[in-house]
Symmetry: C2
Subunit: 329 residues, 2 copies
């Protein structure tokens, strides 16, 4: 596979960070679509990405670099990534399940590779058929691959820890286990860790405990958060993570999402409501809320039977609402 | 109207406070039903109250003491209050729009009278057809009435400030106005203030600002919070209010609710999810979550066309979830 399109260099990504206070990464195209059996047309995926970028979204997980025979939804990964990379200023992320996926991501020029393992042994075995230690080893191999690349072609490497706040199979997850695998991924070369409540088990107090414990173990390594709104506590958990210094959040437009290997899991937190929450709290995300809501149409017309969530979409912005940039003037 | 049934005395209500860390008051029978045009049968309202009390709910706003010709839904206020008062340990609240309603509440033996005015002048005029100063005067008259009663027959008086965090007509509400009317109700004799985000405009930062400002003005008078989940931020706002020391929250089962004089307003925060949030954070509410979820059936079978919300109802409790009392053992 050839290296495609203009690449957003790491230096440019630093620019992105400087114009927003909180990074919001839309993961609907990956986490939202991964369990949708009907194929979402490639040109509509690209329209979704372009419309979101036009609304000011600066970070999108556009696909999963898994074998197409395993997840046919992502058969168009190359075209989607290529189209996304043509959008100036957009950080393009892709999930990579293993070294092979990471190599593909490097070849495609993806800016950020998102490798995910589960803290829950049972979930990791079900989801990727590996022991957790094998996942850490695979992550090390990916980090090793990236170290061989010149700096300006080296993607960022996210170390994701799913089921870090609870597991549909195992129930409670011990914080000591979260810390153990956080340290393992940090030492193996993660540029950032993503702590995920895959099945929406956590409340704000647990979020504070887990994020503080992990932060204490991994020092200055940035922590990001990935919450599901399964039991309605997703945005409350965001505020708890904000208090712990987290400044990067995943969410999916209209709350699409779930996990086929996590019974009872429903969607991610609603991206549109997340952006409203952050804006209302005075954090700049770069996102234009009105424009963002219009992007939902692209998703709903292609997924007429999916469940769509979101308070902002239902009620609209408050009357005379002034977004954070207007309030700062 | 005669004074009915055994009354829970103020001393007994102090007992309630001592066995819970956070008081949760279910307002679906009032705020949820006030805009429902189809009559919810009296015996089903009583079944709802009894089932909730059996699930450990200790505080229920059971009706609104408005003239039945204005809101036919509450034509059965007397029967509902009488039935609720027979339940041992349950704090029975009723909304009172004016002195006449308050007198009726006293005659019925209601434990807590909830008088509500709007901080937004426009909303107050639309909702109760009074200037805000006239509302304060009416509140003073109610407080005066209560002072004439012997201690053991004197209900608690809640001073409610609706649209305190935004108004569908006026947009933003100045904190100085919230404080002005908070002080006015406090000085007139409120036992507690209820700060309400009637139309779901607020985010957690604003909640902190408003509650801290009001608390600074009214000293040790307890503050309660009433949030709507119109834009998805309701439970995030609860955590912000908790941080400000608020220990009493309104919510309605399944998120029923709204306000006909507040365009765009949707339901209250979901009582079931609120109880789960608090329990997950280690606050005792006295509520058994599994039993509470079963009460939704009573509501849904009587309101087949209403919108029902709630993550906990959709997903159930986390696997091996241990409620706060079990965790404390």
């Amino acid at each position: 596979m050839k290296n495609v399109g203009p690449i957003l260099r790491l230096a440019e990504m630093a620019d992105i960070n400087s114009i927003v206070d909180v990074q919001v990464c839309e993961v609907g195209l990956r986490d939202g679509l991964q369990n949708v059996t009907e194929y979402f047309p490639c040109d509509q995926k690209i329209a979704w990405i372009q419309a979101e970028a036009a609304a000011g979204v600066r970070s999108i997980e556009v696909t999963s670099l898994v074998p197409a025979k395993l997840v046919p939804q992502f058969v168009d990964a190359q075209q989607v990534v290529e189209a996304a990379l043509r959008i100036p200023g957009l950080e393009v992320l892709a999930l990579v399940p293993n070294l092979k996926g990471a190599q593909r991501g490097v070849d495609l020029g993806v800016h950020t590779l998102n490798f995910v393992m589960s803290v829950s042994r049972t979930h990791n075995l079900k989801n990727v058929r590996r022991e957790r230690e094998e996942s850490v080893e695979e992550f090390s191999r990916i980090a090793g691959l990236l170290k061989t690349l010149p700096q300006d072609r080296r993607p960022r490497l996210l170390g994701g820890l799913s089921t870090a706040l609870g597991c549909s199979y195992e129930g409670q997850i011990e914080i000591v286990d979260v810390c153990r695998y956080a340290v393992a991924l940090a030492e193996a070369g993660a540029d950032e860790l993503m702590i995920a409540d895959t099945v929406g088990y956590a409340g704000p107090r647990q979020v504070r405990e887990v994020f503080k414990a992990v932060a204490a173990e991994v020092g200055s390594l940035p922590l990001a958060a990935h919450f599901h709104d399964t039991r309605g506590l997703g945005l409350a958990n965001v505020t708890a993570a904000l208090e712990c210094g987290v400044r990067r959040f995943d969410a999916s437009l209209a709350g699409l999402g779930g996990c086929q290997f996590a019974p009872g899991a429903t969607g991610n937190i609603v991206f549109d409501d997340l952006c409203f929450l952050l804006d209302s709290m005075g954090y700049r995300t770069g996102v234009n809320l009105d424009q963002l809501l219009e992007v939902r149409d692209i998703v709903s017309r292609n997924l007429p039977n999916a469940a769509f969530y979101g308070g902002l979409a239902r009620a609209g912005l408050p009357r005379h609402y002034r977004c954070v940039d207007e309030r700062l003037i």
